[in-house]
């Protein structure tokens, strides 16, 4: 149906047939801290309301370009000085059937003048580009939330594809929200009618219209997006001009259409001074890899096989061939790991990046790196499992395969970053540890961290500590498995070094000479020394940080991407007078040496995870504490409200 058929309620004046405004319910919204727009306001929106925190979700068909709309709004908000976190949510299919619920692609961001720890539990604002997007996202919108709907997509066919028995725009189902009905499709067409673009190209530009609308609403400049468009479409002037026109049409429409009674401002957040950029977890991993390569002074190598949601790391690194860095898109996951081992044998700092199913395939080869004692950093961007599972969704269910996977007694250090920007630090640390202890190191990120973005204080390169490598070149007295007495690492020898020719491999080797050995006592000795070496990695850790009091009633132990939600929820519960503290583990294996003592200072321990209790098992095993788990396995991150409620239940 067309927008003109949408009945307009309560006599609200409609200036154009292309949009309508449905009034919202009474009462201010807690989260957004705004007043409802003044009823019946017909003047240009002079009212500027200040809000501290807003969560917006853009949702549309996967062909509607919502990821771009979201990331451009993010860029504008970041440049405006807000703290923020984002989370894109997109279907696994490149093009799921258009207009259907499985084909809906969403992008959520929370931005604030206060510190932001998550991408927001529930959107305060929902932009729905079609019926399917409305249907799948409306339940998340807070009551009284702002709803912007592209009515142009609400025809019978799309309503049918979304499974709506009746048109939600004409029944009562939207009465809980402050709804703006705008025919974005037609407005974009009008704006671009003389552009010379095909109707398909015009259709694609409506995301820019929607973006323009929202940029105006939050007082954001359009210049960062225009710059992006020029970079992206500079070589296609008509597409560039079409997108710019659509963007500005949306912006001016919001300004002149008198439909929004107020616009909103979110002040700059009080964050540490310095130069910032937005970074996603995958970008942050890639930058960390380049930085680690530079700091080690080695040549860098990435062996990787495309897999969602890790591929962006391969893409990013492939662009940086001027950094003494090679990327190798291998024939499969196993080859990617094996090539990384080959490069490590050759003296490179090597990496492989993958996700759960690929991790499973690499396990035997990781065992080879353990046996040959070569440094390789393995990044597993976890996704929903088992098997193919939920490729584009997030989960933390690969902890056990990281810690315990592989045949034989095969310990590997495991680290987990807690946010997109933290990936950079963790990759540097994993690289340092891999080299210092001559061992593969696993880094566990996940889909939430990988695709989520947050502002990142760009590190001062001169303050990053180099970790140069000293290869052995002295043949005299060389023994393949002679070890450094402190780290138990063996010497790293580059092939090509005269007089140090030696053989390594997967067969058990003599404790010293490295010759193949089937001696039973030698095997046990080697098993124990490999375990001891990895256990000693913990001697390089910083003391564990406890958020909250160092002793008390409840200790929450969590890891990885749940950091923001756990931190915020623990703060909420503490603010209510409860004795609750939070430890967020960066080191999953070996566990920090001081963790046991910290645990002893609390009455109860709870471990929230996006799995059925994997860190929980590890902690119970290591400390014999009767810790309890909080589990969520829905392919979606924890919400602050969920965890707050669950933590409260612990008292």
């Amino acid at each position: 149906m067309t927008a003109s058929k949408v009945p307009v309620r309560k006599g609200r004046v409609v200036k154009r047939e292309l949009f309508g405004i449905a009034p919202g319910p009474e009462g201010a919204r807690e989260n957004m801290q705004t007043q409802r727009p003044a009823e019946g306001s017909q003047s240009r929106p002079k009212k500027i309301e200040e809000v501290s925190t807003v969560t917006i979700r853009f949702a549309g068909d996967s062909g509607d370009g919502m990821q771009l709309t979201g990331s451009e709004f993010t860029r504008a908000s970041a440049v405006a000085g807000n703290d923020l976190q984002t989370f894109p949510d997109y279907p696994a299919e490149i093009r799921a059937p258009a207009g259907t619920v499985p084909g809906v692609s969403g992008f959520q961001l929370q931005f604030s003048s206060q510190p932001v720890y998550t991408s927001g539990d529930q959107p305060d604002v929902l932009v729905a580009m079609n019926p399917a997007a409305l249907k799948s996202n409306l339940p998340d919108l807070v009551p009284g939330g702002l709803l912007i709907i592209n009515t142009g997509a609400f025809n019978e066919i799309n309503l049918g594809k979304a499974g709506y028995p009746s048109n939600p725009l004409t029944d009562d189902s939207l009465s809980k929200y402050r709804t703006h009905l705008i025919d974005i499709t037609q407005l974009t067409e009008l704006a671009l009618k003389d552009s010379g673009l095909s109707s398909k190209e015009v259709g694609r530009a409506k995301n820019m219209f929607a973006l323009g609308l929202m940029l105006f609403m939050y007082g954001r400049p359009t210049e960062p997006t225009q710059r992006y468009l020029r970079e992206k479409f500079g070589h296609k002037p008509e597409i560039l001009s079409g997108n710019e026109k659509a963007l500005m049409a949306g912006f001016h429409f919001a300004e002149t259409a008198e439909m929004f009674a107020a616009t909103y401002r979110v002040r700059k957040a009080a964050i540490a001074p310095g130069r910032y950029r937005n970074v996603s977890g995958n970008e942050s991993v890639a930058l960390g890899i380049i930085a680690a390569t530079k700091l080690s002074g080695l040549q860098g190598f990435l062996g990787s096989y495309p897999i969602t949601p890790a591929s962006e790391i391969l893409h990013e690194l492939s662009r940086h061939k001027n950094f003494d860095f090679s990327t190798f898109q291998a024939e499969d996951e196993i080859a990617a790991m094996c090539a990384a081992i080959g490069a490590a044998f050759g003296g490179s700092l090597s990496f492989t990046t993958t996700s759960g199913p690929g991790m499973a395939l690499k396990q035997e080869a990781i065992g080879l790196a353990v046996m040959t004692e070569l440094p390789v950093v393995i990044v597993n961007v976890q996704r929903g499992g088992p098997s193919t599972g939920l490729p584009t969704k997030t989960e933390q269910a690969d902890l056990l395969q990281a810690v315990y996977g592989r045949n034989g007694e095969c310990p590997v250090p495991v680290l987990a970053p807690n946010s997109p920007s933290d990936c950079f630090e963790v990759i540097l640390e994993a690289s340092r540890l891999a080299i210092r202890y001559m061992t593969p190191v696993i880094v566990l990120t996940d889909g939430y961290i990988a695709n989520g973005q947050e502002p990142w204080l760009i590190p001062d390169v001169s303050k990053l500590e180099p970790f140069p490598v000293k290869f052995r070149t002295e043949p005299k007295g060389y023994q393949v498995y002679q070890r450094d007495p402190s780290s138990l690492a063996r010497d790293w020898v580059r092939p090509g070094t005269p007089g140090l020719e030696h053989r390594v491999g997967g067969l058990e080797k003599d404790f010293l000479s490295g010759m193949v050995s089937y001696d039973p006592h030698n095997h046990e000795k080697m098993v124990r020394v490999r375990a001891e070496k990895v256990a000693r990695v913990a001697q390089s850790y910083q003391p564990t940080e406890v958020h909250g009091d160092s002793s008390g009633d409840l200790l929450v132990i969590a890891w990885g991407s749940t950091y923001g939600a756990v931190y915020q929820a623990a703060e909420n519960v503490r603010a209510k007078g409860r004795s609750i503290s939070h430890v967020h583990l960066r080191y999953i294996h070996p566990l920090p040496g001081d963790l046991g003592a910290i645990i002893k200072r609390f009455k109860r321990v709870v471990v929230p995870e996006m799995n059925l209790g994997q860190l929980l098992k590890v902690i119970r095993e290591a400390t014999l504490v009767d810790a309890k788990g909080i589990h969520k396995v829905q392919g979606k991150p924890f919400k602050v409200a969920e965890l707050t409620a669950r933590f409260e239940e612990c008292f």
């Binding site: 000085g81 710059r227 910032y276 930085a291 196993i334 050759g346 035997e364 390594v504 491999g505 997967g506």
Partner: protein, 351 residues
């Protein structure tokens, strides 16, 4: 350690001066005694490799032998070069990572029919396709030896082995057709009991630029004894072996027989009775791959078994392409600056 026997001058780290004194076979013998079964064809292959390596003018420390799993894959332990005994089937991938990052090394892969064509099938075809500059020696004994006698991907149809008591129902791979199909730029075959021929083939493989795939017919005297007797026995070998030589007619049986083209087929013919040497196909290892395929398809009893170099052509080498790409990027973008990279994109200052 045999390393101590080294007589050559030692250079700096990874950049050796040319050897002052010529290396010998003994320089490539490790301190480990081979543990192959007595009478195994692998001994001969090891000996021929140890004879060829010192002749290549490459400092010993520049050789790296990478292997997978299987009897053949014990090979690196018996050589005194750098060696890497990998996991089953994955040697080509390990070697690729090594060669990409250390192009100055001479990287070899030692593998078997099970290792290369079964569990490692994916790696071998992609290594050949990419023309990674590694030398692959594939010992083909048509059986799983280390696991004690199961049929392999090159075992003949009907093969009775431990896992096929009623005979194999799987058609075998022809390794050379596989290599040619994968785009290998150097494809050859030799036999464990033909040491001189093997040396020549290995030498050719060693100097080839790009992937070299060498199938070595190798007798497993414990689990598949006599697999190649019908072509290696003295009384029949002249009749049953066809030695490929570039630019020479395809003659065998001491020149009494030859191969001529009959339409799209290679036909074994006896010279005389109107068939003269000029009817015989002259071999060209640089010709279209289809000629190599034609030869690789030939086998007894209808044809003699061709051995030698089937194909040797030039195609851009993987690491050279990689290096030139990196140099081009370096030229256009300049040496990467970490500070610039970290600070790229939209940035803003919080004061």
């Amino acid at each position: 350690m045999s390393d101590n026997d080294r007589k050559e001058a030692k250079g700096g780290n990874g950049v050796s001066a040319p050897p002052v004194q010529k290396l010998s076979r003994k320089d490539f013998q490790s301190e480990v005694d081979p543990r192959w079964c007595p009478g195994c064809g692998d001994y001969s292959i090891l000996a021929q490799v140890q004879k060829v390596l010192p002749e290549l003018g490459i400092p010993k420390e520049k050789f790296v032998f990478v292997s997978g799993i299987g009897c053949s894959s014990r090979f690196p332990y018996y050589l005194s070069t750098y060696g890497f005994h990998g996991i089953h089937g994955r040697a080509p991938a390990i070697a690729t990572g090594l060669k990409m990052t250390r192009p100055e090394l001479s990287v070899w892969v030692v593998t078997g029919d099970g290792d290369a064509l079964s569990i490692g099938g994916n790696h071998i075809i992609h290594t050949l396709r990419k023309n990674v500059d590694v030398k692959v020696l594939m010992f083909n004994n048509r059986i799983y030896g280390l696991t004690k006698g199961q049929y392999s991907p090159t075992s003949e149809l009907g093969k009775k082995a431990k896992s096929t008591p009623y005979g194999s129902i799987d058609a075998p791979f022809n390794p050379l057709l596989l290599a040619l199909g994968a785009g290998a730029t150097f494809v050859a075959r030799t036999i464990d009991v033909e040491p001189l021929h093997m040396q020549q083939v290995i030498q050719r493989a060693a100097v080839h630029k790009g992937s070299a795939f060498v199938e070595v017919f190798q007798n497993c005297n414990v689990f598949n004894d006599g697999a190649y007797l019908s072509i290696t026995e003295k009384p029949v070998k002249d009749e049953m072996q066809l030695r490929l030589e570039h630019g020479k007619p395809l003659l065998f049986a001491k020149g009494k027989k030859g191969i001529r083209l009959n339409g799209f087929r290679a036909q074994a013919v006896t010279l005389g009775n109107g068939v003269s040497e000029k009817d015989i196909l002259v071999y060209d290892e640089r010709a279209e791959a289809s000629l190599s395929v034609l030869l690789a398809e030939m086998q007894p009893p209808s044809h003699p078994m061709p051995i030698g170099v089937f194909r040797a052509v030039d195609r851009p080498v993987h690491h050279e392409l990689e290096i030139s790409q990196r140099q081009a990027v370096l030229k256009s973008k300049g040496q990467g600056s970490l500070a610039e990279l970290l600070g790229s994109g939209d940035t803003w200052v919080v004061s």
